[in-house]
Amino acid sequence: MAELLSLEEAVGRLVHDGDTVALEGFTHLIPVAAGQEIIRQGRRGLTLVRMTPDIVYDQLIGAGCASKLIFSWGGNPGVGSLHRFRDAVQHDWPVPLEIEEHSHAGMANRYVAGASGLPFAVLRGYTGTDLPAQTDTIKPITCPFTGERLTAVPALNPDVTIVHAQRADRQGNVQMWGITGVQKEAVLAAKRSIVTVEEIVDELEPRPGAVVLPAWVVTAVAEVPGGAKPSYAAGYYERDNSAYQAWDEVGRDREEFTKWLNELTGVKA
């Protein structure tokens, strides 16, 4: 049964130094507040997993929380580069960042294998590209039925997955709708999970097409209204595109970023 905790307590208890941590949300429902709480609590040596490490991972990487990133597209969608990510890869600032690079199809299937309790997934992908030569977790496999050469990718089973959703009830059953990306797979693949939600309600009202994560697959639920901002939560608030554009200025410069970080963590300049 999921425990209802504050965000501070959930991150404090469930995210440890050196953990493999996935924060998922495909543009929509990105658990930004939870990522920033990880920064505040000063976690180090994390292996961060995420298909589209956007600005919340730029912030975590810039704050020195991560030693490795497993990903498939690292940019600020529609805006440009993630400058903290670039700085870490190109100049080891503030700490070196190892990368394990995939395609979206590969990452999605790694979560599917993880959620399915299987050691690997198979897809018709990566053929002809230079990615397999740089990434140990992409291997050829022969179909035992047809002989076709396909690609195998190993399961992703994070120590902890964090997602954001619209609602949960008091038992910790979670409901999310709209673009639901790989959140269900990422939660089911993880050893532990934290779901931050816009609100906790007495009873979940059924919604067509919504994904329900039952309380018994979720470790902790934390009520964090606005916890996905500047991304969005369908039915609650819209994506703040201007904030993504504004991040480009902050992320571009080490000093500007450090000012931002000090403000977040309450350090006086």
Partner: protein, 250 residues
């Protein structure tokens, strides 16, 4: 026909014209998304737009900034999970056209969006990476690419093959068992390129109005082949320009 337009507007309009009505198109963000949304307004009302966030048949009223803007989900025929969009919809070859951008493109239509520089571990520039592109390039019926033409972007050989085009020439896709035809069209701010039917090398087949051949040659980092019957792209119509400008403002 209008004479009052920019090279970027000509590029978006030429890219939009390449999409015919009734087809399905897997859309990348940025220039491809702009062109696909213009096509839907201009001449292809039954163009099915598919975004990798899981939005099938999106009909946005304004241009999304990202592939997962709420507008795409709210207007879609269906919203599915990301594993589903790649495994059920893209991989079996259900999508006619993949529409991609690139940071670097070589003469055989191979795309680099990963690193600039020859050392992957010590790159000159770290780019965003693959996203959905490798499998889009592999599995869509055909691939259109749109990007601004410059010697830095149009290189003899890409530094990293993120998404496979025609490899090192005709027949490479078949050898690898890639299901789709690969790149059949490249749209730039200067003109259009298509793979040569014999060699698969990208060949300039059309220049946009007012562009000199010398400009296109200078903006290409390899010795650009030019079609014998080099044509001129029709200039944007007033209607196309009006629709594009409305789209950019909305």
């Amino acid at each position: 026909m209008s004479t009052d337009y920019t090279a970027d507007e000509m590029m978006s309009i030429a890219a939009a014209r390449a999409l015919s009505d009734g087809t399905s198109c897997f859309v990348g963000i940025g220039l491809p998304s702009k062109a696909a949304n213009l096509a839907r307004r201009a001449h292809a009302p039954n163009l099915t737009l598919i975004y990798e966030s899981g939005c099938l048949g999106a009909k946005p009223s304004h241009l999304p900034l990202s592939i997962g803007d709420g507008e795409l989900a709210d207007t879609a025929d269906a919203v599915v999970s990301v594993p589903e969009v790649f495994n059920y919809w893209l991989q079996p070859g259900r999508i006619d056209v993949g529409f991609l951008g690139a940071a670097q493109l070589d003469k055989f239509g191979n795309i680099n969006t990963t690193v600039i520089g020859s050392d992957y571990h010590d790159p000159k520039v770290r780019l965003p990476g693959a996203g959905g592109a490798p499998e889009i390039a592999a599995s869509c019926g055909e691939v259109f690419i749109v990007l601004r033409q410059s010697p830095r972007a149009f290189v003899e050989k890409v530094d990293f093959v993120t998404s496979f085009g025609h490899g090192s020439g005709k027949g490479d896709r078949e050898k690898l068992g890639l299901p789709g035809q690969g790149p059949t069209l490249v749209v730039t701010d200067l003109g259009l390129m298509r793979p040569d039917p014999e060699t698969a090398e990208l060949t300039l087949t059309e220049l946009h109005p007012g562009v000199e051949l010398e400009q296109a040659i200078k903006a290409t980092g390899w010795t650009l082949k030019v079609a014998d019957d080099l044509k001129v792209t029709p200039a944007p119509t007033e209607q196309e320009l009006t629709l594009l400008r409305e789209l950019e403002k909305a």
